[in-house]
């Protein structure tokens, strides 16, 4: 039986830990550990919530009204409500810097995916060509994770891009707008496939269409953004709770792991952590250490350990993230209709565009607007706000947005390092690939043509190229490879420089496909636990 110290309770960490526990190993998890409030009135729909709460404005907008999106706030809008602000709170003294990148960090139980939109997309064999293992090994991981978390989806036109796997539940109920888009697609399918190489279908989502353990099937309450009160929408804290039920699991929350001490032959001997408020220090003896603190923080822990061991200035190269572009649209056939408040709030359908090679596939999630707040949307219309609010009412049910994702490659210069002036703090650097602008333009033209064919109007000049870092799919700083040099990991995620340290999050990805990576993070963490322990 191994004793493994795991840093992080995000999607990667909890599935790695659960697989170890199931195999009879002992796990101590060191974690940021922030937790959020329990959602009120768990049986209320979004609209009922506004009626039942004593002070709905403060619940939905925050005690200090920080959830009001004011014009030109200059910040990227994630739509995360104040209720979920705990997910992004930093420990005292944590002050990363970045150039060309807007990173998000989480020190919460469950990590960043406590705020995710639950898109779960298996990669195909072409997309993992650079990964040093067979697709079948990952497929087993997908199936284990799907059984644990519940993934809904369908064998439709998008299955050509996303392999089917066992454990797929029936899809969620469609809202009227998504249904209309799919109906229209059925009529225009051959044109879209042949002319634009564009395909539509159901997205795969980790939201239950039937009960699973103590989590209930989606009851279409329309509160997904504010936190599903019945656990239908999976978040990693559910798996953390499952780990906590194991006798071999110890959880040390409320801690910031800064580094590990190094002994003979580069072996990690002791993990050093301080309490989140910086007042206390704790040390954990290490047999085996698994870093699952998210790509940026895991890289930071490795770098700080090397710095304290006298390694000088090291930066880990090859950081990747998906460029995302938001393309809003108005579906003319939905104008004047009421929006559905009793519907699943996030994307239910998606769009795939074939690239020149299978790895150049472009992935889009289509979200039709339902219970989202309107003030962040209508303020950008070129009218007075009274008129904009009326236009919002007339178009609410007709609005949608495609979140278009592009793949990324490892490139030198895109790195995670440590600040010289401010020891211990991260510096993230990123520059897009040359030719990115043309690639984006070409693809967005295709997306707009596809939307028009589906009966939608794409307002010119309203597409929004999100800053790098906004997709929150970070990867690539300590890549897995069959025979690599320094600062790589072996196919089991074991560091080639630090023989008892495993990287079980996105650090190890040698390529970043366009599909959102979290399902693969979880499957890969399971694969590592099953193959290395």
């Amino acid at each position: 039986m191994d004793h493994v110290v795991v840093v992080g309770s995000g999607a990667s960490g909890v599935h790695f830990a659960l697989s170890l526990l199931e195999r009879g190993h002992r796990v101590t998890m060191v974690d940021g550990g922030k937790r959020g409030p329990v959602p009120p009135h768990p049986d209320a729909t979004y609209t009922q919530l506004k009626e039942r709460l004593d002070d709905p404005a403060r619940y939905l907008l925050g005690e200090d009204f920080g959830g009001v999106v004011l014009p030109d706030s200059g910040e990227e809008y994630y739509g995360v409500p104040p209720e979920k602000g705990f997910i992004f709170e930093h420990p005292d003294g944590f002050a990363p810097r970045s150039h060309g990148f807007s990173p998000l960090f989480s020190f919460a139980q469950g990590g960043l995916a406590e705020a995710w939109t639950a898109g779960c997309y298996p990669l195909n064999a072409d997309e993992i060509e650079d990964f040093p293992f067979a697709h079948s090994a990952l497929q087993r991981g997908y199936e284990t994770v799907a059984r644990r978390i519940g993934v809904t989806g369908e064998d439709d036109d998008l299955a050509r891009f996303m392999p089917l796997h066992e454990g797929l539940m029936a899809p969620l109920r469609l809202d009227a707008h998504s249904e209309l888009l799919l109906d229209r697609y059925a009529k225009k399918r051959s044109w879209l496939n042949a002319r634009l190489r564009c395909y539509l279908g159901r997205t795969r989502v980790a939201t239950l269409s039937r009960d699973l353990g103590d989590r209930k099937a989606c009851a279409y309450l329309g509160r997904c953004l504010w936190g599903c009160p019945i656990g239908a929408l999976y978040t990693p804290s559910a798996t953390l709770r499952e780990c906590m039920g194991h006798p071999n699991f110890d959880y040390a929350g409320g801690l910031f792991a800064s580094h590990f001490a190094l002994g003979a032959e580069g072996r990690a001997t002791e993990l050093v952590a301080r309490s989140i408020d910086g007042t206390e220090e704790r040390r954990f003896g290490i047999d085996v250490l698994a870093l699952a603190a998210g790509t940026l923080c895991s890289s930071g822990i490795v770098l700080e350990s090397l710095r304290r061991d006298g390694a000088g200035d090291v930066a880990l190269e090859g950081l990747m993230d998906n460029r995302q572009v938001l393309v809003p649209f108005v579906n003319q056939r939905m104008l004047g209709r009421a929006f559905e408040d009793e519907a699943y709030q996030y994307h239910l359908i998606g769009l795939g565009i074939e690239g020149e090679t299978p790895r150049d596939y472009v992935h889009g999630q289509i979200t039709t607007l339902k219970t989202a707040m309107m003030h962040p949307v209508v303020q950008s219309l070129p009218f007075d706000l009274g008129t904009s609010a009326l236009i919002g009412r007339a178009t609410h049910a007709a609005l949608g947005v495609v979140n278009v994702n592009f793949n990324d490659h490892r490139r030198p210069g895109n790195s995670v390092g440590l600040s010289g002036e401010d020891p211990g703090n991260l510096v993230v650097r990123y520059a897009p690939a040359s030719g990115e602008g043309d690639r984006l333009k070409r693809t967005l033209k295709t997306v707009s043509r596809a939307l028009r064919k589906l009966g939608c109007w794409v307002p010119p000049g309203m597409s929004h190229v999100r800053p790098m870092g906004a997709s929150v799919h970070y990867a690539g700083t300590l890549p897995m490879c069959e025979n690599g040099g320094a600062w790589t990991t072996d196919p089991q995620g074991r560091s080639r420089d630090l023989p008892n340290v495993f990287l079980v999050d996105g650090c190890g990805f040698p390529f970043l496909p366009a599909k959102n990576i979290t399902f693969t993070l979880m499957a890969n963490a399971v694969r590592i636990a099953d193959s290395a322990f």
Binding site: K50, Q332, G336, Q379, L385, G386, A394
Partner: protein
């Protein structure tokens, strides 16, 4: 009651009428005042921006004209911030949210026609706003 409190109440009334077609409920008023205490920096402005807010607070009609002007020439100024704040409060608070959540029904063609009419009305407000506020902007700039 302080003169600032009175001014905020006047604004709240005019803005709620513009955005939701009715006077603000007590909870809306309370939230509007509380938000000004919580995020004061967002609502401060130059003397011309104060002129815009003051003019807008007289009636829903004046608010539309001032905001049509602000949307083009002062898009992140205090008037727009205050209106966006009010919209956020109204869309989360009963009974105003019921009105804001209700569709403006009819067939897609009727809805489209309405949108065109709304747009034209806003353009009219903008023209009026330019006539009213451009000279005042010059004047206050010289005075500042």
């Amino acid at each position: 009651m302080s003169s600032q409190g009175n001014q905020l109440r006047r604004e709240a009334h005019a803005f709620a009428r513009l955005l939701a077609g009715a006077a603000p409920a007590a909870a809306v008023l309370e939230a509007y005042l509380a938000a000004h205490r919580a995020r004061p920096a967002a609502f401060r402005g130059t003397s011309f921006q104060r002129v815009l807010v003051s003019s807008a607070s007289r009636s829903a009609f004046r608010a539309r004209v001032a905001d049509a002007y602000a949307r083009m020439f002062d898009p992140a100024g205090p008037l727009r911030c205050k209106l966006v704040l009010m919209l956020a409060i109204l869309e989360t608070t009963p009974p105003a949210h019921r009105r804001l959540d209700a569709p403006i029904g009819g067939s897609p063609a009727a809805a489209l026609l309405r949108l065109v009419l709304y747009g034209l009305r806003s353009v009219g407000s903008l023209i009026l706003g330019v006539i009213l506020f451009t000279p005042r902007r010059w004047f206050t700039r010289e005075a500042d």
